[in-house]
């Protein structure tokens, strides 16, 4: 399970990179579907994945990032990768 710190940071990356308006890291629901409910597409997810890789020093598999469609899933993925490292 991801920590609140990771969840907040992922939300912050989403907001900054995708220039999302009317939302803050604190109000960004970690379980909202980024594709169906926020309107994010595969290029956006790829961009976020690249920034997350940089920040956490992990390697995201190309086949994985399109499945990371909530902030919580991204945060969980980060934690799993960090533990495996």
């Amino acid at each position: 399970m991801a920590t609140d710190t990771t969840i907040l940071r992922v939300a912050e990356v989403m907001i900054d990179e995708l220039k999302l308006e009317d939302v803050t890291p604190d109000t960004f629901s970690p379980d909202i579907d980024l594709v169906d409910e926020v309107g994010i597409d595969s290029m956006d997810l790829a961009t976020v994945a690249l920034v997350i890789q940089d920040e956490y020093g992990i390697r995201i598999d190309e086949d994985d990032y399109t499945k990371l469609t909530t902030v919580r899933r991204i945060a969980d993925y980060i934690e799993t990768k960090k533990m495996a490292a």
Binding site: M43, T47, E62, Y65
Partner: protein, 391 residues
């Protein structure tokens, strides 16, 4: 242009990973990536630290909202071309729906499900201009694929792709239409909607120079396509290793000679003339070859027939193409572009991808002006052998 066919063939057969010499890299790219050790793992932020890359990245990413689907507008055409994709498979037998209200409802539904870019195609959209206008009224971003013999009215404000398959003699033989280029130019000279699309077959490579010169003299713009065999195609237009190499050489030669006319890049040439087809190189994203319904084209793309039905199993940008032979410009525009993540491995590869995306946007989106290419040499597709600069 080099005529050393033996050297070209050798380069293709060997398919060595392209490595630039220090001189070439240093002279072309003073910011440093050419000198970096090949095993370095680049952070995305380090790649974007190059100002030219950052500027181009910020420019193209504004268009990431584009989500396409394609629409056959009518089963009718005013010519018959050898190797035509439309008259293959089941779609040619769909009845025409010419009811503007039905088309308007379709487009409204497409917009509601997130489609922001439409491609109006098969068989010949200019024969139903009133339906094209209806589409434009609902979704104002898109492109029309036409043979250019009948001018689309100004009210259809899409990008217009005018297909060219060689010089007039070849067009008459393959497409059964006389004076085709003159008629196409007469219809679209000075029209900022138009981009001519020259399709290279095995046999018209040497004609491209003359055609591009005529287009340049007329102030028209041109980009390049590759003949890709329809399923079951038995004709002789299919490319060989040698014709791929000669096409690649011709593409970059014309790009250098007519930079104001030719919308293309070295990476576009490398991707579309590689010995391996687009699906093998990049993994096609269209539903026909991509069973995934995760976010992306596998989820959102539809290819509507002229009766407004669609079939997920057949849906791709040029249905009934023989997928292993596919090097279509339309396919690459989505398939290569979608591989952002894969190309963000080093500055050269990412810059080459940006050149590709910049080209794609200039070719497909009216009003987008192409920038100068960032890499004027061949960069290898990620994970694949590269191509050599010929000669």
């Amino acid at each position: 242009m080099s005529s050393d066919g033996a050297a070209l063939n050798k380069a293709i057969i060997e398919m060595r990973i392209h490595k630039r010499t220090p001189d070439a890299g240093g002279a072309r790219n003073p910011t440093g990536p050419a000198e970096a050790p090949p095993e370095k793992t680049w952070k995305f932020s380090e790649i974007l630290a190059h100002p030219d890359i950052r500027e181009r990245w910020e420019r193209v990413r504004k268009y990431f909202f584009l989500r396409e689907s394609t629409y056959d507008m009518t089963r009718r055409c005013n010519i018959r071309c050898d190797g035509c994709y439309y008259y293959e498979g089941e779609k040619q037998f769909a009845e025409d729906n010419r009811n503007p209200d039905d088309w308007r409802r379709l487009m409204a539904g497409e917009k509601a499900r997130g489609i922001t870019f439409v491609v109006l195609a098969g068989a010949e959209p200019s024969l139903v201009p009133e339906l094209c206008e209806v589409c434009y009224g609902e979704i104002p971003l898109g492109a029309v694929a036409t043979n250019g013999l009948k001018r689309l009215p100004d009210a259809v404000g899409y990008r217009i792709h005018v297909s060219v398959w060689g010089n007039d003699a070849t067009s008459e033989r393959v497409r059964n239409a006389k004076n085709m280029l003159d008629r196409q130019i007469d219809n679209y000279r000075g029209d900022d909607r138009a981009v001519f699309i020259y399709t290279f077959t095995r046999h018209n490579i040497d004609e491209a120079g003359g055609v591009v010169k005529r287009l340049a003299d007329a102030g028209c713009r041109v980009s390049f396509n590759m003949f890709s065999a329809p399923v079951g195609y038995g004709g002789d237009l299919r490319h060989t290793d040698a014709s791929l190499a000669r096409t690649r050489e011709t593409m970059v030669d014309l790009l250098a000679r007519y930079p104001e006319t030719v919308l293309f890049s070295h990476y576009s040439a490398a991707a579309h003339t590689h010995g391996r087809g687009l699906h093998d190189l990049y993994g096609c994203s269209y539903p026909r070859m991509n069973p995934s319904t995760d976010v992306g084209l596998g989820r959102s793309f539809r290819q509507y027939r002229s009766d407004l039905t669609w079939d997920r199993d057949a849906a791709c940008c040029v249905p009934d193409t023989d997928c292993p032979d596919c090097r279509h410009y339309a396919a690459g525009s989505a398939v290569v572009t979608a591989r952002l993540f894969r190309h963000a491995v080093d500055p050269d590869t990412f810059a080459a991808w940006l050149d590709y995306v910049d080209t794609y946007l200039a070719v497909w989106v009216k009003g987008y002006e192409k920038g100068a290419n960032l890499r004027d040499w061949f960069v290898a597709p990620p994970g694949a052998p590269g191509v050599e600069t010929p000669g």
